[in-house]
Amino acid sequence: MARYNMHVLNIIFTNETLGFIQAEQEDESNQPLSGVIIPDNDWAKVAEGMNVKGVTVRTKKEFEEAVNEFKKMDGPMLIDIKYTHEMPYSTELNSLDDPAFVKKYQAEDLKPFSYFAEKYGLEADAATGASQHEESEPEEDEAPDTVSGASQH
């Protein structure tokens, strides 16, 4: 008979939103959030109902302990991490000259590319090469930006 071994650790990052779409709606098309919110669910209880060990964690320590538990057991397990609702740093906007942007992403320690370009003698036209792409520049007008990378999803 065939032997199965489903030693799978299922990690669920619960941020209560479809984050990828939320970021597009906020950063790209500047529209009200629409259809992205997911109510918080008890995924550990769902797992237990499906005969899989389920744990909810809220801190690094709790997560580490849960992973250690998985390492000692056989079979599948689920860890539901109640995760930050903040969006990841936007490398597309990348507006380190905007204090609001820096504050939002706690990016005080990040240096703009121009800093490194200047430090290592990168020619100015090379350092700003990215801006040759008009389509990747944030639009000033109020029409939804439908041509930048993110909105093309």
Binding site: H7, N10, F116
Partner: protein, 460 residues
């Protein structure tokens, strides 16, 4: 002549191609093939998923990690319709797989019978090859052909089996020629193209590399190239892992998923060594006047995403090796120095949050644990959504770790089926499914499959 049921002949072909498991969900129209699956219970694992889409996605994910195609099935009507999402994932990620679709008995076809549809037409668009058996004798031949076509055309092949043919006795005389199937063997670059590439590399001020899945077997050459010519390396998202994340010249993925340095460095280069990369978003990147040395095995890809100056229709490993051997060592360019420092600044910034006690918990403390705890040969089955951003920036791939996601099709719900696949193919490795709550909500029923099949020794 020994006789065999049509559906048993089908499984025999699959098994003789070295495939020892199959994902699916039964249905009335598939009874003759379920009987064959029972007959093969000592040879083939049957992974009974709770939704046919999970079986199709599991099969689609298999080649991406193993280089061997996976097989799934669905019954006529809804069981068949549920396969589509997995087939499109395979089609868009150029992934060989085979789907077996049941049809109602031939005498019930084309007369508005229960669960009877024009399946051969349904699956034409979702597949690279789609055929319905016209006689029971054809079943083993078509099954063999489906596997051949899936590998050759790098996509999903669909074979449709009318239920009555599956029960019909046919001669058991079909033999698979698996050993005749050759390994991929791509050409070496022409001398002219190598000379041109070397010249451009010498003249460039700030050369860079941009690698995709076409470079997946050339990780050592990519690193040697970067060290000799001092080229920062950037990749497509699917190119993550070709070079270990800690390699200093690897800036990561360009675009929304990746870290800051990759996004910035791409805009400042004047020469891109573009290896096996067809990322659709790359039309937005690199200065328009940057020169490009493009290495690919598909003639249709040259100049598609950016103007190309040197086209090398060649194997990535051979082409990079030829340029490394022919070119002169370069010193660090201003862009190279800026890139390394930019990445270090980003890494230090991310690391500064590793022990943050902010609530709800930030990504960095969690991924720090994943990086420290995951086995050196762990497999990560990654869903679709913001988990791609976090994994792209924070997962530190190394050693024999492997990962998979839904690339171009980018379907949510990929994580759980891919985890099932990984646990089936690599029963002795640690498997981590990484999914957001949105993606997991789409395929969470596959926890039932994991629980049921764990340590199961008797399937029926």
């Amino acid at each position: 002549m020994t006789k065999i049921n049509g559906s048993d002949a089908m499984l025999k072909v699959i098994y003789d191609w070295g495939i020892d498991h199959i994902y699916g969900f039964p249905g009335g129209s598939f009874d003759s093939s379920m009987n064959a699956i029972y007959d093969f219970r000592d040879k083939m694992k049957f992974i009974e998923v709770r939704h046919e889409e999970a079986g199709a996605l599991a099969a689609a994910s298999e080649y991406k990690i193993t280089g061997k195609l996976g097989v799934c099935f669905g019954s006529a009507g809804p069981g068949a319709a549920h396969l589509f999402n997995g087939l499109y994932d395979a089609k868009y990620d150029k992934t060989p797989m085979v789907a077996i679709v049941a049809n109602v008995p031939t005498s019930r076809q084309d007369i508005d019978f229960f669960q009877a549809f024009d399946e051969d037409k349904w699956f034409l668009n979702a597949s690279v090859w789609c055929r319905q058996a016209k006689t029971a004798d054809q079943i083993p031949i078509l099954t063999d052909e489906a596997i051949r076509q899936a590998y050759a055309r790098k996509g999903p092949a669909v074979i449709i089996i009318p239920k009555d043919y599956g029960w019909q006795k046919i001669d058991d005389n079909f033999r698979v020629n698996k050993d005749a199937h050759p390994e991929a063997n791509y050409p070496a670059p022409t001398k002219t193209s190598v000379d041109e590439a070397v010249k451009l590399l010498k003249e460039a001020k700030n050369p860079t590399m941009y690698i995709g899945l076409g470079a997946k077997d050339a990780g050592d050459e990519v690193k040697e190239f970067a060290e000799k010519f001092k080229t920062p390396i950037m990749s497509s998202y699917l190119g993550k892992g070709i070079v270990e994340d800690k390699f200093p010249a690897y800036m990561g993925t360009i675009g929304r998923l990746g870290p800051k340095a990759a996004q910035e460095v791409q805009g400042a280069t004047d020469l891109v060594v573009w290896v096996g990369n067809n990322s659709p978003f790359s039309v937005l990147w690199f200065p328009k006047d940057a020169k490009v040395i493009q290495i690919d095995v598909d003639p249709a890809k040259f100049g598609k995403r950016h103007s190309t100056d040197v086209s090398m229709l060649a194997d990535a490993k051979k082409a990079l090796r030829a340029i490394i051997d022919a070119g002169e060592t370069r010193s660090e360019s201003p862009l190279y120095k800026a890139a390394i420092a930019d990445r270090e600044n980003w890494d230090a910034w991310q690391d500064s949050f590793k022990n943050s006690d902010e609530m709800p918990v930030r990504p960095e403390p969690i991924w720090d644990v994943i990086n420290k705890k995951a086995d050196d040969n762990a497999i990560f089955a990654i869903d679709v959504g913001n988990v791609n951003v976090d994994s792209c920036r924070l997962l530190n791939l190394h050693d024999d770790q492997k990962w998979t996601t839904s690339g171009l099709h980018a379907t949510m719900g990929y994580g759980a089926p891919a985890a099932l696949m990984a646990a089936t193919v690599y029963p002795d490795r640690e498997v981590w499914q990484l999914a957001g709550d949105g993606g997991f909500a789409m395929m969470n029923q596959e926890l039932l499959t994991m629980a049921r099949w764990h340590a199961t020794t008797c399937m029926f």
